[in-house]
């Protein structure tokens, strides 16, 4: 595996090949990053993926529509609700139904909660990689109450399988509103504090300011997604561009930062947490009554033949799913367009010319999810 790449790359005497991976602490999952170094500068970078390729697209073709939902969870386990949402909204538009009003609210709230916990873990992992271990521990500590909230509704910590066609699996439990508001209040205070620490700490600033700069033009050309894109000053957010669920009516702004360096990408994530809290607080007071799912048998779903491309804003960016139905109980073809896939692809050009020591900061500031890249 490694030998192959070494023979492909012709090294000069002054250059050195460094393998990072497949198991490496800076990675959220296994992938192989080969760096050609000259001194301390990265001359070339190659990525090899697929170490946890599970063939999800093939499995989805062999499952009924309802059975697909748990599999979509496991594409990116940090954003399972968005994965459910992108699949279910696609199938809904194939079937020509709409989620009920109450379900729309519940889904939006859950999507934003997922975003908060994903960003917290993303920042935490990134903090470990740049040697800021206390921040990692704080972030995991902050994340646990959010996980408890998600668990309170869905019954699972990570893989929720919560969204259904035309609704959600369960109603909100009693006391959810009070608990959510209390938790979010605490999280907001803590995140603001962490934000302050991160924007003041001189060592941290030296480590991140001006490192791994992705210009606005380059970001658009490389097609990175989500916070990595918005950190470069592009206000591209599916919630605004191609709105779904309640987002057309909600008041929120797309967080951007101008410089496109590591600092900005993380700053965008921190600010997005606060923005998500604001969104949830708007929704939670207005949840209407009524049914939380459409009254039909979910086991017998047979959409009309056709195809659909649905998109949602995953915590990591634009998540798309292309579903082809041939009128049977199983989808004919499902293709997933993952945000981490797009972001990962842009990593080798971004690493070129950077210092070896900055490699960890740059790679983890992209907050990629290997599982979703490989699928």
């Amino acid at each position: 595996m490694n030998g192959e790449i070494e023979t492909q790359i012709n090294l000069k005497p002054s250059e050195m090949l460094l393998h990072l991976g497949p198991q490496h602490p800076l990675q959220p999952g296994p992938f192989l990053l080969d760096l050609v170094l000259e001194g301390e500068t990265v001359k070339d970078a190659t990525l090899e993926m697929g170490f946890i390729h599970k063939g999800i697209e093939k499995i989805l073709e062999n499952r009924t529509y309802l059975q697909c939902i748990p599999i979509t969870d496991r594409m990116c386990y940090l954003a399972s609700i968005s994965n459910n949402e992108v699949f279910c909204s696609g199938v809904e538009s194939l079937m020509g139904i709409e989620p009920t009003e109450r379900a729309k609210y519940i889904r939006t709230i859950m999507l934003e909660l997922t975003r908060i916990q994903s960003h917290l873990l993303g920042i935490g992992e990134y903090a470990t990689d740049i040697g800021f271990l206390s921040m990692f521990l704080w972030m995991i500590r902050e994340r646990e109450p959010i996980i408890s909230l998600l668990e309170m509704v869905t019954g699972a910590r990570l893989n929720h399988s919560f969204v259904r066609f035309g609704g959600v699996a369960y109603d909100l439990p009693a006391g959810f509103k009070e608990k959510t508001l209390r938790t979010l209040n605490e999280i907001r205070k803590k995140v603001e504090k962490h934000d302050e620490i991160m924007s003041r700490d001189s060592v941290y600033l030296k480590r991140t300011k001006g490192v791994g700069v992705l210009s606005r033009k380059a970001a658009m050309e490389l097609g990175v997604a989500g916070p990595a894109m918005r950190g470069s000053g592009v206000d591209y957010d599916i919630r605004k561009v191609d709105p779904y669920l309640l987002y057309p009516d909600l008041d929120f702004k797309v967080i951007t930062a101008p410089n496109g360096d590591v600092f900005d990408r993380v700053k965008v994530r921190l600010s997005e947490i606060l923005e998500s809290i604001y969104i949830i607080e708007q929704c939670i007071d207005m949840i209407p009554g009524g049914p939380f799912k459409q009254g039909y048998n979910p086991y017998l779903i047979k959409p009309k033949p056709g195809e659909v491309y649905s998109r949602v804003e995953d915590p990591r960016g634009e998540m798309g799913m292309y579903i082809v139905s041939d009128g049977t109980f199983k989808p004919y073809r499902v293709k997933v367009r993952g945000p981490a896939f797009a972001t990962m692809q842009a990593l080798p050009p971004l690493l070129k010319g950077a210092y070896m020591a900055d490699n960890a900061a740059i790679a983890s500031s992209m907050d990629s999810c290997t599982s979703e890249v490989d699928r």
């Binding site: 697929g50 063939g55 093939k58 062999n62 658009m220 050309e221 191609d242």
Partner: protein, 151 residues
């Protein structure tokens, strides 16, 4: 009244003689194109119509033919233009979009190894997620024998 999506389709129709097309909703438009025109159409879309973002390249197996499906969209608006090009299974070759959209590279590699669509002009058409020894099995094709896993 014509929406932006319809206008786009009309432009494609005039310029590239696209015949089969449909408007599903204001934000989703579809067109079937000839496989040899994909590069020209992509150049036209990205240079003249500001479709500057390639969202995804999917492939699908329809028995005799393989289909490459391109979702082209933009950073400034929400219209997703889906272009579909059928290539015969005996000779599944289509032009690569990498000269126009840089990020097409990995999508094409994925479609190449999983479905066997070969993209002419891709700088590095190597397997991305499959181990080298599984290359050539094309697991996403409908006639693939290795599923379910016999082990």
């Amino acid at each position: 009244m014509n929406t932006t999506g319809e206008l786009t389709l009309n432009m494609l129709k005039e310029k590239f003689q696209v015949t089969e097309m449909r408007v599903e909703s204001p934000n989703r438009v579809w067109a079937r194109i000839a496989p040899d025109k994909i590069l020209a159409i992509a150049k036209f879309l990205s240079n003249e119509l500001e479709f500057d973002h390639l969202s995804s390249i999917a492939g699908a197996d329809y028995g005799e033919a393989l289909e490459a499906v391109y979702q082209i969209t933009a950073y400034s608006h929400g219209i997703v233009l889906t272009l579909k090009a059928k290539v015969p299974k005996s000779n599944p070759v289509i032009d690569s979009l990498t000269p126009v959209y840089w990020n097409a590279a990995w999508y094409e590699r994925e479609a190449y190894e999983l479905l066997g669509i070969s993209f002419r002009g891709n700088p590095n058409l190597a397997p991305l997620v499959l181990p080298a020894e599984m290359m050539g099995e094309y697991p996403l094709r409908k006639d693939y024998k290795g599923y379910p896993n016999p082990t």
